[in-house]
Symmetry: C2
DNA sequence: GATGATTGGGAAAGCGCATTCCCATTGCCA
DNA sequence: TGGCAATGGGAATGCGCTTTCCCAATCATC
């Protein structure tokens, strides 16, 4: 990656390095117009592209913003990524991407890599967990983040604080009201559903999942309903599918119409997919609700009841965009939780 | 973003800068073990994180790989992004992300930004077009890429060469056999479908769309079928939706069972969504096929007939992963194009 | 034991740029 | 017209690191 340098431009234009720098890469001092033009011409002729690395080194600010997600192909994360990307664009910066497989150890590595690149800020979008096996990784991640912040870095975390991270400044959490929203969903579902509830949750210790479970149970309690049974499984489609298979028998063997709350949309889709070949129809034989309101899933039928989350705004906010509206969600009741004889849309 | 520097580490360890560099950041020369340990200890104590910018500057290789997509939240692109990300991970590099809104002018800017950051390579995933309005942008993009390649950059383009780019070396195109696959799809559809065909395409001049249209028509011709009517619309869900609305009347007014080929899955979903409230059922009243086999859409019902594309591999290949299998697609016939009285899955 | 071959640490020269000083001009006012 | 402030270009330094080159110490060889 050799390319022409500023000094080459300067030489061709017959000016000093300093002048060329001032003309080409915005400085407070503006050289005279005729000189400026000569420099610009020279730069053009040579196809000069400033070396951002060198600039970053010289003024110690890289214009980079790091983004850590579990899986960029997951629609939940890619929606957040879009928000981050937009914020970065506005701030005239670039985003560095890191997909970790979701383990804190990988995330720590990503953070270190971002720090090495002297990213001005970073956003961590993976869901936090307190599982025993992640303990060590969490501690290391927290330490790494802490160091990064102490060195002046800005970090935005989506959802829950990184476990064990001390509240340094520069450390910023985008709160997602998972618990209240899940409670709201439970309340609205309870208003029209008489039967029992089942929750399909992620592994215990996953904050996002646990919050939604807790909120949902609270909502049920507030509505005077007994607590729902909780089935723990993977936090993805496969997990939902598996849980759906396990539930199929039970649903077919009883005349009770169960309401199934999967803690995210993708899991809800998995549940539905597992139920379908077993002849369990939604919403006739059971109802299903999810969480997130993933855009790509909106044309799914029966339309999935869920909680809408402004994922893009969440990303934007985590990336430090000041004029993002505060994060709120909305319960969306759709066909998948309607009464058996509802309208046909 | 101040942090401790290598020279601080060297001083604390009582060695020279050179030695510290050699032990900490891999060199061919390995200092003695006792000295190495002293350096590592010092680095640990200071929380030293090497400045990747400075390293890049010194050895003129940034370890960066740029990725240009239209929209990172689009499942097509995010799948490719996942592949790129994995390849990058394997090569021990990081990916720089740029979402352009799809105009060549924006893409050019992204390329320039990557070049400024001295990315070792980059992949361009947006679909190429020859539309008149993009002419100028295309030319500029081509020039920018050309310059980048001349300076030793590697670029991988998905699908079609950038219009006007000279075949410099370092310039690498991942060919996607859109045309053959579309022909194959048409052939297989023609084998079981007696009625007419309609193609819902993107705007004229969009290579990906045009290729698929051409291939499909060819496939029909090979099967002795008359050419399909082509409806041009947006290359996204909204476009498909609009086309679907336009088609609804016609389908309802005739007893012919139309086979609709939308040039990508997302458009096919849009078509289906528009048809549904009009009472047009798939596959009873018409059949629908798409292209891409987007993962998130696989649970959609009726299951969408489509052409499977190994998007992740495509990304990996474009990112220069040598042991990616060659790109081939597969026609997937599913429920959406079955005979009216097919099995119920 | 003297000599050449090796090993391994250190000094220093950049990598490409921003920026602080410094100095030669120019313009202005008295 | 002399003196001063203001203007604007240039030389030089440093950002944090890699890498070449140099040199002292050790080793093997005859």
């Amino acid at each position: 990656m050799a390319a022409s340098t500023l000094s080459e431009v300067a030489r061709l234009a017959g000016v000093s390095l300093a002048t060329a720098s001032r003309v080409l890469n915005g400085s407070s001092r503006k050289p005279a117009e005729d000189i400026a033009e000569r420099v610009r011409d020279a730069a053009d002729k040579l196809g000069y592209v400033p070396n951002a690395q060198a600039q970053a080194l010289a003024k110690s600010s890289s214009g980079l913003i790091g983004l850590v997600v579990h899986d960029i192909a997951d629609p939940y994360f890619s929606a957040i990524a879009r928000g981050v990307q937009e914020a970065a664009r506005q701030q005239n910066r670039m985003v560095l991407l890191a997909s970790t497989s979701g383990t804190p150890a990988d995330e720590k590595q990503a953070v270190a890599a971002f720090a090495a690149r002297r990213a001005d800020s970073m956003v961590i979008a993976g869901s936090r967990s307190v599982r025993e096996e992640d303990k060590q990784g969490n501690a290391e991640l927290a330490a790494e983040l802490d160091r990064y912040c102490r060195n002046g870095g800005q970090v935005g975390v989506v959802g829950h604080p990184v476990v064990g991270a001390s509240a340094a400044d520069g450390y910023h959490v985008v709160e997602v009201p998972n618990e209240e929203l899940a409670a709201g969903l439970a309340g609205q579902l309870a208003a029209t559903h008489d039967g029992g509830f089942v929750i399909i949750a992620g592994p215990e210790g996953l904050y996002t999942s646990d919050d939604r479970v807790r909120g949902f149970q609270q909502g049920l309690a507030d509505a005077g309903r007994p607590a729902a049974e909780v089935i723990r499984t993977g936090f993805n489609r496969a997990g939902g599918f598996q849980a759906g298979q396990a539930l199929a028998e039970r649903i077919k063997g009883s005349k009770e119409r169960l309401c199934i709350f999967a803690v995210n949309d993708v899991m809800a889709i998995g549940v539905t997919a597992a139920l379908r070949p077993e002849g369990v129809w939604i919403p006739r034989d059971a109802t299903v609700a999810g969480f997130d309101d993933i855009e790509t899933l909106r044309d799914f039928r029966p339309a999935l009841s869920t909680v809408h989350l402004p994922l893009e705004d969440i990303g934007r906010l985590a990336a430090g965009d000041p004029d993002t509206p505060p994060i709120t969600g909305t319960v969306k009741l759709r066909r998948s939780t309607e009464a058996p004889v509802g309208p046909q849309l």
